[in-house]
């Protein structure tokens, strides 16, 4: 279990406990947190669960490998930053307790 903070683009924050093994995307969807659309349902086949990982966590969470499907899908998302990830590809562990992710202006 990890306590994760999701911050919408308008600044609204949502703090929820997400069981280890679920994805960060699933944690948002299960708790009806707006701003993460997750159209494909976690197949890494769209880019509508795009989040920015908080700077304090970026080293631990890591970035998608170059040439990976996630990197490819992410490259089509709008307003990407160096800290962009697809949240369906971040598997929650107990060590992620306190993780903060922010949402982009919109999912595309």
């Amino acid at each position: 279990m990890a306590r994760i903070t999701y911050i919408e683009h308008n600044g609204a924050g949502h703090v929820v406990d997400v069981p280890a093994g679920k994805s960060v995307m699933q944690g948002a969807v299960d708790n009806n947190i707006p701003g993460i659309d997750a159209d494909c349902g976690g197949e890494c086949a769209c880019a509508t669960c795009h989040v920015y990982v908080d700077a304090a966590w970026l080293d631990r969470i890591g970035l998608p490998a170059a040439g990976s499907q996630e990197a490819s899908m992410l490259s089509f998302a709008a307003v990407t930053q160096p800290d962009s990830r697809l949240s369906c590809q971040i598997a929650v562990t107990d060590a992620m307790d306190g993780l903060i992710v922010r949402m982009p202006e919109g999912q595309h």
Partner: protein, 418 residues
Amino acid sequence: MNAPVHFDPASDALNTPLDRIDVSDPRLFQDDIYHPYFERLRREDPVHYRKDGKYGSFWSVTKFKDIMAVETHPEIYSSAARLGGITITDRPMEFRRASFISMDPPRHDEQRKVVSPIVAPANLNNMSGIIRERVCRVLDGLPRGETFDWVQRVSIELTTLMLTTLFDFPEADRANLTYWSDVATADVNAGGIVDSEEKRLEILREALRTFTAMWHERAAKPPGFDLISMLAHAEATKNLVNDPQEFLGNLTLLIVGGNDTTRNSMSGGLWALCKHPVEYQKLRDNPGLIPSMVPEIIRWQSPIVHMRRTAVADTELGGKQIKAGDKVVMWYISGNRDEDSIDNPNDFIIDRARPRHHLSFGFGVHRCVGNRLAEMQLIILWEEIMKRFPRIELMEEPKRIYSNFIHGISEMKVRIPA
């Protein structure tokens, strides 16, 4: 419609030998009788081989998860125009026009990224005002108490106006855009004006001339925020105009993609509501459901019937051996009714959970670039409809087009009670 009166598609679908079922027959979609054939394939042979069908030999991929597997492996399932591109029709080699939808990574990626900012979230906010203003104008001009064609008066008008904005195209000439869009996708066997690839190209050359002139004009000016200017000024596409075939390919992609699909969801949504009065009442009771109804409309309509790939390596899919060179057809219209991936897929439910989990936009690197713009147009349309017209009546069943690619409605007679 063309079928004899006693013809029963449900029993035909059950009694035709499996290897004779040919879901590529455009009549199935024109007559709206395709469901039982796909139901049988999903149940008995979800990855189905049809040898020597109307559109050659091909694999039909009919289940959601198998379609997703094809979508996410572009290195195995190619979209390349020279191999046949993205439609089941194998055009003669000289008529195969590349565009970024009929290209594989990395070139696809470079060209797509040039145009995608126009439909990104920031620009959607910029466009919402003009879209709403047009929707209001079109709806306020509709007659009361008299029968009219929703397709002409609303669906075509609104989507074509949208295109004029995206291309910064003269509004007065907008009928050309609709015409070129229809010409680009017409099945040569449909009995319409386009009865050969030569005829199609002849008409589309006019589009090419128009847009080439526009290109040179805009290339000479500072970059603007319309599709032609964006293409003319971007590193990856600045020489596109010198390759008329590929330029025309991309033009038709952007015209069809921004037009035909949303047009048919605008018609199909009203049709679905008229056929499902309980859902229509739910909408009247709570217009706040519109944002979740819109993706359900897009699933229900499935505006693109299929997308095709060509295998470039031997592989396995759903237990079947696919060989390099095989034509593989993803039937979105079937995957969108797959009970293993969507709850109660045969029900139209405007407040279903996770309504965006559908295949109508495709998935993977070729996923519809304009998907959020399409949704926004439909949301605004339905918001403004519900403010004005609590009830619109379907006067007769819609007329559908002869196509296994565009799930199109060509005419739909409706009436707004006086």
